[in-house]
């Protein structure tokens, strides 16, 4: 049997998820073999190559937004999950407290240190390997080496400022002026080079340092001090959120709005107000439209009509579905295979790099799956 011919409008209609006042319809994708009798929906690489599109909307180093068009939800979701939980990053993991007389408890301070996003020479960060912790099966682990551990130090002591008495006389009450190191910031962390790390992390620009230097870690008063050493290791977000390279990675489906019957005059203005700015525009009904019989525009020449301008900006609040005057005039939906990704990096890697990394991790997973299957069927 020859493959059945399906019109493009039918194919496009199948891609729309219906968004109604209380329900969501047509949720699952149907472009899979055997769903429609007589139609060929076998996955084809050449076909995918021709139809798949990537479009950038925002491209900043640590914040980007782009569309993946023509991909299945399972794959798009895999990328999202890998971005959040499986791309290894460097973070403080072990804290050795020599002294801490600040009011922040050792445990709390350690926790805060762990959450500091770190950055450094990207080549060096890629060169670093994941540290394997000792377990019952593997009592040695990978061991602490220059390729898997970065050492940092935090040694600060709070003292009175040189001109303390003078300031005190003037009734100065800002502790940052009265005392040295009254506030301990992330910039007080000091990178310690070990082994071969100097080839990557030497110099101000390349060394391991916090992304944001002004993260407040603790407050102190004269006589108090903090002296600790930290070991940073590479880990993944699945183990602890501090290792997640994104904050956060998400996607949404491109909204669609179709006006099925004319919305005119003041109703059009009200309709536009149901959506964020720029989604709905107002245009004049043209002469030719007004002449067309059965279009709903007859005798309305020159009046304002609501037109869909940019659905990208819509939040799909469904506000327009609450008003009886728009009933049966509008249909909301989303395009099932148009994923608008938003990837915001915590600063260790660039956002676009992170997405490519998620692709290569998925690739690696597939390769290992394939190897496993080959082993199994041998």
């Amino acid at each position: 049997m020859a493959p059945a011919r399906v019109s493009q409008t039918e194919l496009d209609a199948r891609k729309i998820v219906g968004v109604n006042a209380e329900t969501v319809t047509n949720v699952s994708s149907t472009d899979i073999p055997g769903h429609y009798p007589g139609e060929d929906h076998e996955w084809d690489l050449e076909d995918f190559r021709n139809t798949f599109k990537v479009k950038f909307h925002k491209h900043q180093p640590f914040d980007c937004a782009f569309s993946l068009i023509g991909i299945d939800a399972s794959i798009a979701n895999a990328f999202r999950r890998i971005l959040i939980a499986e791309i290894p990053t460097l973070a403080i993991e072990y804290v050795f407290v020599h002294n801490n007389t600040s009011i922040v408890q050792d445990e709390v301070l350690s926790h805060r240190l762990g959450l500091i996003p770190l950055t450094g020479n990207p080549a060096g960060l890629r060169w670093l390997q994941q540290y394997r912790k000792p377990t019952d099966e593997d009592p040695v682990g990978s061991g602490v080496q220059d390729v898997n551990t970065v050492v940092m130090k935090l040694k600060v002591e709070c003292t009175k400022a040189d001109n303390y008495d003078e300031l005190n006389k003037k009734r100065e009450d800002d502790p940052r002026l009265l005392y040295k190191h009254a506030h301990v910031y992330a910039k007080d962390l000091e990178f310690v080079v070990s082994g071969r790390q100097d080839t990557f992390f030497s110099g101000e620009a390349n060394q391991i340092k916090p992304v944001h230097p002004d993260i407040l870690l603790a407050k102190m008063r004269p006589g108090q001090c903090i002296d600790m050493e930290m070991h940073c290791i590479k880990g993944i977000g699945a183990d602890h959120a501090k290792f997640s390279p994104v904050a956060t990675a998400s996607y949404r489906l491109l909204p669609t709005i179709s006006i099925t019957k004319p919305i005119l005059g003041n109703e059009a203005k009200k309709f536009a107000r149901c959506f964020p700015k720029g989604v709905i525009g107002l245009e004049e009904v043209s002469r030719s439209e007004a002449k067309q019989k059965g279009s709903g525009y007859e005798g309305h020449e020159g009046e304002k009509k609501a037109v869909v301008k940019n659905t990208f900006k819509d939040t799909v609040s469904r506000e327009c579905l609450r008003h009886p005057e728009f009933e049966g005039k509008v249909k909301l939906g989303r395009v099932r295979d148009h994923f608008i990704f938003m990837v915001e990096s915590t600063g260790q890697y660039q956002s676009d790099e992170l997405f490519l990394e998620s692709v290569s991790i998925l690739k690696e997973k597939c390769a290992s799956m394939k190897r496993g299957l080959a082993e199994y069927t041998r």
Partner: protein
């Protein structure tokens, strides 16, 4: 979270010979009022030598303590 390992006393009647500095040895405390360091011998009254405050604090351990940053 691993604090220093607890060491059980070796005998029931040994009332902490490891902690007790013994006669002649002094231990340093910190005054709760004036933050002055106070050296006390066994049998000394628990009192700050500077201000007479009766609450003294033990110093933090000099040993390294390891934590996980979690």
């Amino acid at each position: 979270m691993s604090r220093e390992a607890y060491v059980a006393p070796t005998s029931a009647f040994n009332t902490g010979t490891t902690v007790d500095p013994g006669p002649g040895l002094t231990t340093q405390y910190i005054c709760g009022d004036c933050n002055q360091k106070v050296l006390l011998k066994q049998g000394d009254g628990i009192r700050c030598k500077e201000c007479g405050h009766r609450i003294l604090y033990k110093e933090r351990t000099k040993r390294m303590v390891q934590f996980e940053a979690r």
